[in-house]
């Protein structure tokens, strides 16, 4: 089901910007490799030279001038090609783009699909779905410290600055699940601040978006009803939203459709019943320093709560 996971690499571009950046990288790689080989060859020839007579000054001046000239020319060439790539990557986007606001916080990504009609906006976390072949505009902000949004297969890095919104756009040319991560050190769990971008066909994307717009499913069995009751009467509601219930806080990830996501805690754990229980009971064990407090509850209550969370497709 769904597109396959693609290895996270800036050298396997899946979009126009990433292709430009990858091209620039390869040009620089081959030029620098050639320069390195030439320099090594010259040094080797000097070391192995039998003749011990001193080099005439005229020849020495000539080679130094050539070396400096070649370095300046190559660096200037890099400057020009970087400028051209920078312009191409930063070009403005046509109308009709999907707009997504991503807010970084320690240590997860709040994702909001922007729509002129407020009731059609969708809030989710850590997993972004986008249609293939359409430009996607990202508005990036931070709630605490500087983070950096980086999905190497699709684009370069872009910092998320507190109190300042930046924007850029990207596009995926082929379907796949692309892993991204925070690329600016942001505290204890910087390493576990991952996100997944799922690029899929327009029809699949629309189906996903429509499902995300729905409020959470009502619990259908005794155990999930008990789970919902526990959720609504405990600490959970201080931070989390489940649309369709009274839980509406925005400090933590939106859990309305948490079971539709593949991972927990920004890519730290896979989304299984066992991991939900482990996470809820003692989040500090799985991801020390994260903002979620532990929840001392009986095994029965924990099973009910995890059954409820698992039902939120």
């Amino acid at each position: 089901m769904g597109p396959a996971t693609v290895a996270q690499s800036a050298l396997d571009p899946a979009g126009p910007q990433a292709a430009q950046l990858s091209h620039l990288w390869w040009v620089m790689f081959w030029v620098c490799t050639s320069v390195f080989l030439v320099v090594i060859a010259i040094v080797a020839s000097a070391v192995l030279r039998r003749n011990s007579e001193p080099t005439p000054d005229r020849l020495l001046t000539g080679s130094v001038a050539f070396g400096v000239g070649a370095t300046v020319a190559i660096l200037f060439g890099f400057l020009v090609i970087s400028f051209i790539t920078g312009r191409a990557v930063a070009s403005t986007v046509d109308a009709g783009a999907v707009t997504i606001t991503v807010t970084g916080q320690q240590w997860w990504w709040n994702v909001e699909y922007i729509d002129p009609a407020p009731n059609l906006r969708v809030r989710t976390a850590n997993e972004i779905h986008i249609p293939v072949g359409r430009p996607i505009v990202f508005n990036l902000a931070s709630r605490d410290v500087i983070h950096s949004f980086w999905v190497p297969n699709l684009h370069g890095k872009r910092d998320l600055i507190p109190g300042y919104q930046t924007s850029f756009w990207l596009q995926a040319d082929r379907p796949g699940v692309y892993r991204g991560q925070c690329a600016e050190f942001c505290g204890h769990q910087h390493a576990w601040m991952a996100l997944y971008v799922t690029a899929e066909s327009d029809a699949e994307y629309k189906r996903w978006l429509a499902a995300q717009r729905e409020p959470a499913v009502e619990p259908g069995s005794d155990i999930t009803r008990r789970g919902q009751e526990l959720f609504l009467k405990s600490t959970c509601t201080q931070c989390h939203t489940i649309r369709g219930t009274i839980a509406g806080a925005v400090s933590g990830p939106d859990l309305t459709h948490v079971a539709s996501r593949g991972s927990l805690a920004a890519g730290t754990l896979s989304n299984t019943r066992e991991h939900i229980e482990r996470w809820v009971r003692d989040p500090q064990q799985a991801k020390p320093g994260n903002r979620m407090p532990p929840n001392a509850m009986s095994d029965d209550d924990l099973h009910a709560l995890s059954a409820y969370l698992e039902s939120l497709k």
């Binding site: 709630r143 605490d144 507190p162 109190g163 009467k233 405990s234 600490t235 509601t237 201080q238 931070c239 806080a249 400090s251 500090q284 020390p288 320093g289 903002r291 407090p293 532990p294 929840n295 001392a296």
Partner: protein, 176 residues
């Protein structure tokens, strides 16, 4: 002599102790029925335990983060007050000791302050209480937060003058 100096230099480095960050918390501890233990003047039994958060920069900045995350700002603004009383002045209606502030958050108070019993874990309550006290300069300056994430209308907690707290027996609205 050089050897002695080297040993001294190393021992000075070793003496630097990094402030501890407590990640492992106990969560919600079931509490007994609320019993009024407001303390007229004097200290409180748990004051020492609660005040451990006040000298810890991490705990205070967590308290500051939670103060806005849990929407304390909805009524108390960023300390200046609004629907609820100001927290950065020297007037305290229900006591200023760490334990009293903790109890006010835990139990709620008449005329609007809701109870957060069962909603906020014990450690976080301690952190928020310590931060609330730092708003009027009651926490050590070296540990109090030095910057704001919101627009600053007042100096940060670390540069707030320490006010000498007073118990105002009645809410200011009742006195007028």
């Amino acid at each position: 002599m050089k050897v002695v100096m080297a040993i001294l230099a190393v021992s000075v480095l070793v003496a630097c102790e990094r402030e501890k960050r407590e990640f492992h918390q106990s969560g919600i501890v079931p509490q007994t029925t609320p019993v009024t233990d407001l303390y007229p003047g004097g200290g409180t039994p748990h004051a020492a335990e609660r005040s451990k958060y006040e000298g810890n920069a991490y705990a205070l900045s967590q308290g500051k983060m939670l103060f806005s995350a849990y929407n304390c700002t909805g009524c108390h603004a960023n300390g200046g007050g609004g629907m609820g009383p100001a927290l950065m002045d020297d007037q305290w209606i229900y006591g200023y000791e760490p334990d009293q502030v903790y109890k006010s958050i835990l139990e709620g108070r008449p005329n609007g302050m809701p109870t957060f019993r069962g909603k906020i874990p014990d450690e976080q309550l301690g952190e928020i209480a310590a931060y609330v006290r730092s708003l009027s300069g009651q926490a050590p300056k070296a540990a109090a937060p030095g910057r704001d994430d919101h627009m600053s209308g007042k100096p940060a907690e670390s540069s707030t003058e320490k006010r000498s707290p007073k118990i105002s027996a009645l809410p200011p609205s009742a006195v007028q």
